[in-house]
């Protein structure tokens, strides 16, 4: 058997081991699945939104920023490997979103509809700040959404700096998307049975 040299390599991985409970380990794939379905439903309804971070939001709210960040990360890696390879690099954005939601939720910024409004803006800002450089590196500043790119093209055509144009393109889209996702997550979370919330809270 190969048991020997397997043990040798164990130490290499333990250095970047993140402590995960079994509850979080099963929550994360579920959250990724929800991201995937939400995105598919948004496309099916021809919404001008992605909604692909709904599961990440809920994972952060239920099990904290780490769970959300990992959900977001794995989501983009899997999505990138199976459907759209370039979206892999946006894993960094998803990590940012997961952390932002986790912290905001913990601080009580998902308690009522008014506060969710503020949270959505902050999360959209975080997402845009991380995504813009990636858009510039990989897509020359475009986002791939037609009407966002129309804004981008107009601004570039008027000799506005590519970074500012790209930032605007991304932020407009992100703001709309994160508003929709934040309110959906807020409404859904309110309706989760208490025992479910408690289970993930106790098993963090």
């Amino acid at each position: 058997m190969k048991a020997k040299n397997i043990n040798d390599q164990d130490s290499r991985f333990s250095t970047w081991k993140i402590h995960l409970t079994v509850a979080t380990t099963t929550l994360i794939p579920a959250a990724v699945g929800i991201n995937y379905i939400a995105k598919a439903l948004a496309e099916g309804l021809k919404l001008p939104l992605w909604l692909g971070s709904l599961g990440t939001f809920l994972a952060s709210m239920l099990a904290g920023p780490t769970a959300g960040a990992i959900s977001g990360f794995i989501n983009n890696v899997i999505y990138g490997l199976t459907l759209s390879p370039v979206s892999t690099v946006y894993a960094i954005t998803s990590i940012g979103i997961g952390i932002a939601v986790g912290i905001l939720f913990h601080r009580g910024w998902f308690q009522n509809a008014k506060r969710v409004f503020v949270s959505a803006i902050i999360i959209a800002l975080v997402s845009t700040i991380i995504s813009t450089p990636l858009n510039v590196i990989f897509w020359g500043g475009q986002t791939g959404v037609a009407w966002g790119d129309a804004i981008f093209a107009t601004m570039i055509g008027n000799h506005i700096n590519i970074w500012l144009a790209s930032f605007t393109d991304e932020f407009v889209l992100d703001l709309l998307d994160k508003f929709a996702v934040a309110y959906l997550a807020f409404l859904i979370y309110r309706q989760l049975p208490q025992r479910m919330i408690n289970y993930f809270k106790d098993n963090q």
């Binding site: 309110r190 309706q191 989760l192 049975p193 208490q194 025992r195």
Partner: protein, 268 residues
Amino acid sequence: MSTIQISNLHYQYPTSDFQLAIDQLSIADSLVAIVGQNGAGKSTLFKLLTGLVQPQKGAVKINQRNLATLTPEERLRTIGIVFQDPSSQLFNPTVEKEVAWSLSQLESDAELVQATVKKALASVGLTKLKDQNPFDLSLPEKKLLTIATVLAINPQIYLFDEPMMSLDWPSQRLVTDLMQYLAQTGHQVIAITHDMDWAAATFSKMVALAAGNVVFEGTPTNFFSCPEPVKKAGLLPPRIMTIAQEVFNDHHVYLTPQDYAEKYPAHQ
């Protein structure tokens, strides 16, 4: 009372070999059980009876009208559907709103909605829980809630998929009584089930399916008096018949222990 008429019905799933094929079936009784093994075609027939899935050939007609031609409103008023798994259709914040949501699609008078919801909740015994989150209820309570959402609309026909599953004894009795009440007040109740004891005791007509075909239609007494279709459908007779056969070597048809007690003097 309505009549459901099925003629030359054919349905096949795109991804499997299974076919449902029914030449002629007419359902005019008020309490009808559709029975069969897993995979006999019960769920497929259920889907076709909802009117939400169209057959490749033939049609399901209710009082001479093709189900496929009903508008959504007409469909809701004609057929009420109670699914096997109640958790797939609940989404409102409270039990009361859950029931009101269904009705408010057809009825805009808020006062009427409220009064009807109250009545529907009372008839399934959920009045006390009206302000609870539906997802905090127990499984039998969730199932009663989905029944209440249909009761509020008061359709002509009630379609149940495995109604006894995941219910405890008191709620089984409650639902059975409710079905009998509905049948007495001019509704038609159709239930898909593999609970033979319950089917024998409750229904006046049975339709047995096997491998996508109807192998029997008639009264429970007739069904269980001919062992051939029962066996073909992979079903067991009511337990009281097994007891009579195994303990007393008595091969008469009995639907319930009460039935046995009544016939006992004559059979001695």
